[in-house]
């Protein structure tokens, strides 16, 4: 066993658990934690998806200032740069397809049989968060925090706070937390009117196109988020710590993805059966997606940490989520930290599965489209709202130079698979649910 940190009170572990309840994750480097010192954690993440899809580079710096009496201030800065292509939601076709770019100023083409990807996707995000945690007295502690992030078409802010109550000689901690957020969305080219038809340039003058494009736009939009979280952290025995959380989250406002589309498929019999419906202007019909304007989510989360007699640590968690969009999900996460003299190796396994949203549609039929007066009010072909399973395998290796300094490298590989309606006619020739493969590597240094 490597018990080089004896004498640290369990209250700190519980206070760390409290911090973990905040959406703004505190670094909780309690091993260092000496009053008057800063503990700094830096990292660089490189993320890549197969088939030239999303690539990201994400540097992070997180600094925690420790004060007397277990008071802590954490500041965190994250930046990321995203490039690459993202699935638009449209279906592949036997014919070449042309789509209007989100700004309306250009277009992009997709070869026959290829999955429609919007390659105009590029963004830079900067996020800053701050969290303060401190004891109130022997039995209570609190945390307050703030968050702001800015990207080209999105601005997000949140404030959060939590209160913890220690019971049973600090073997039990009850925590209640609240987060209030406001996001402003200003999509490139303006937010499209939900389920309106994507204007296409073919066969039109620029003036006709502009008029059509303007008619499908509405002003920028916002959404409000309220999150509440209730948690119980319990010391089970000398080797086992357990946490049980219930989280409820309500968001309202503009919850649609302004860049996602739906193909309308011809369901009348004939040569074009199962192909894209051709509109009166001679172009295929694509619609902008539309989601409900509110969402209520509930999540139950259970986590256990267990130290084996050889000093290795097992970290297991399970989460169940259900919402009023008809989605439910299960997440299992397992880590095993194999501890060596000055280093550790930690394999990681994660499994995720979700059911599809009630309004998830891989495509709309011409009948549902009903010549521009669809009977449905909401529809989305975003694969992230479909039936989905994800498997992640990874490992982290860390080397501890001393109590303060650690170098670590982590690699994760994820494969996501979708499933659902396979379509009819010509659609059945295409893979409507391609897998998503992603890999990320992270280098960290803390001091």
């Amino acid at each position: 066993m490597q018990l080089n940190n004896t004498g640290k009170p369990v209250g700190r572990a519980l206070a760390a658990a409290t911090c973990a309840l905040l959406g703004v994750q505190a670094t909780n480097t309690q091993a260092k934690g000496n009053p008057g010192e800063w503990d700094v954690e830096t990292a660089l993440l490189v993320y890549a998806e197969s088939d030239s899809r999303v690539n990201a580079i994400e540097p992070v710096i997180s600094a925690t200032r420790n004060f007397d009496g277990e008071r802590q201030l954490n500041l965190k800065l994250v930046a990321d740069t995203l490039t690459g292509a993202s699935p638009s939601g449209a279906t592949p076709s036997d014919l070449p397809q042309t789509f209007t770019s989100p700004s309306g100023s250009g277009s992009y083409s997709i070869a026959p049989g290829e999955a429609p990807l919007d390659d105009t996707f590029k963004d830079t995000r900067v996020a800053l968060s701050a969290a303060w945690s401190a004891p109130i007295n022997r039995d209570y502690a609190y945390s307050v925090g703030g968050y702001a992030s800015r990207e080209y078409d999105y601005f997000s802010t949140a404030l959060n706070g939590s209160l913890s109550r220690y019971l049973n000689n600090k073997n039990t901690t009850l925590t209640g937390g609240l987060s209030l957020g406001m996001d402003l969305i200003d999509p490139v080219g303006g937010a499209p009117v939900g389920l309106s038809r994507m204007p296409l340039r073919d066969g039109k003058t620029e003036a006709e196109f502009d008029q059509e494009f303007t008619a499908t736009r509405e002003s920028d939009d916002s959404k409000a988020l309220v999150d509440a979280l209730f948690g119980v952290t319990q010391v089970i025995n000398r080797q086992t710590l357990m946490q049980f959380n219930y989280a409820v989250s309500y968001s309202s406002g503009y919850l649609t993805d302004p860049y996602k589309l739906l193909s309308v498929i011809d369901d009348a019999s004939g040569a074009n059966y199962g192909g894209n419906l051709i509109g009166a202007d001679g172009n295929p019909v694509y619609l902008y997606e539309n989601r409900p304007d509110s969402r209520l989510k509930h999540a139950l989360y259970w986590q256990t940490k267990y130290m084996l007699t050889n000093g290795d640590v097992v970290d297991g968690s399970y989460r169940f989520m259900i919402d009023d969009w008809g989605i439910s999900s299960h997440t299992v996460d397992l880590k095993y930290r194999w501890r060596l003299a000055n280093s550790y190796l930690e394999p990681h396994f994660r499994y995720y599965m979700q059911s599809e949203a009630d309004f998830y549609k891989r495509y709309l039929t011409a009948t549902e489209y009903n010549n521009g007066a669809p009977a449905l009010t909401e529809a989305s072909a975003d694969y992230r709202l479909g039936e989905l399973t994800g498997l992640t395998l990874g490992a982290k290796w860390g080397y501890r130079f001393d109590e303060d300094r650690e170098l670590a490298i982590r690699a994760e590989y994820m494969i996501q698979s979708n499933d659902g309606d396979e379509g009819f006619g010509q659609l059945t020739n295409h893979d409507l649910y391609p897998d998503t493969d992603a890999m990320w590597v992270q280098l960290s240094y803390s001091f």
């Binding site: 004498g7 658990a17 909780n28 959380n245 989280a247 940490k305």
Partner: protein, 84 residues
């Protein structure tokens, strides 16, 4: 008809019940669990914190938030980011 069975009101009631039960369990049943102050050596190990690296957790949460329909649970789900 899954919508009718899981109305928000019913979910809230269920959640409320779960919370009351969890609190009651924490306040009473769990009093038999736990350790004495001098038995806290292993639990105080930094590797025994529920979140060992806030930076790792934050980066992963952001990735999964962008690729799945679920977020939050361990902490707040949060908003932000129209990322794909």
């Amino acid at each position: 008809m899954p919508d009718n069975t899981w109305t928000p009101a019913r979910l809230l009631r269920l959640a409320g019940t779960a919370l009351v039960m969890a609190s009651a369990l924490a306040a009473t049943g769990c009093s038999n669990l736990g350790v004495k102050p001098w038995e806290r050596d292993l639990l105080a190990d930094p590797d025994m914190q529920l979140t060992v690296s806030g930076v790792d957790a934050g980066l992963d949460d952001h990735i999964y938030f962008s690729k799945e329909a679920t977020s939050g649970g361990r902490g707040f789900g949060g908003g932000g980011c129209g990322c794909n």
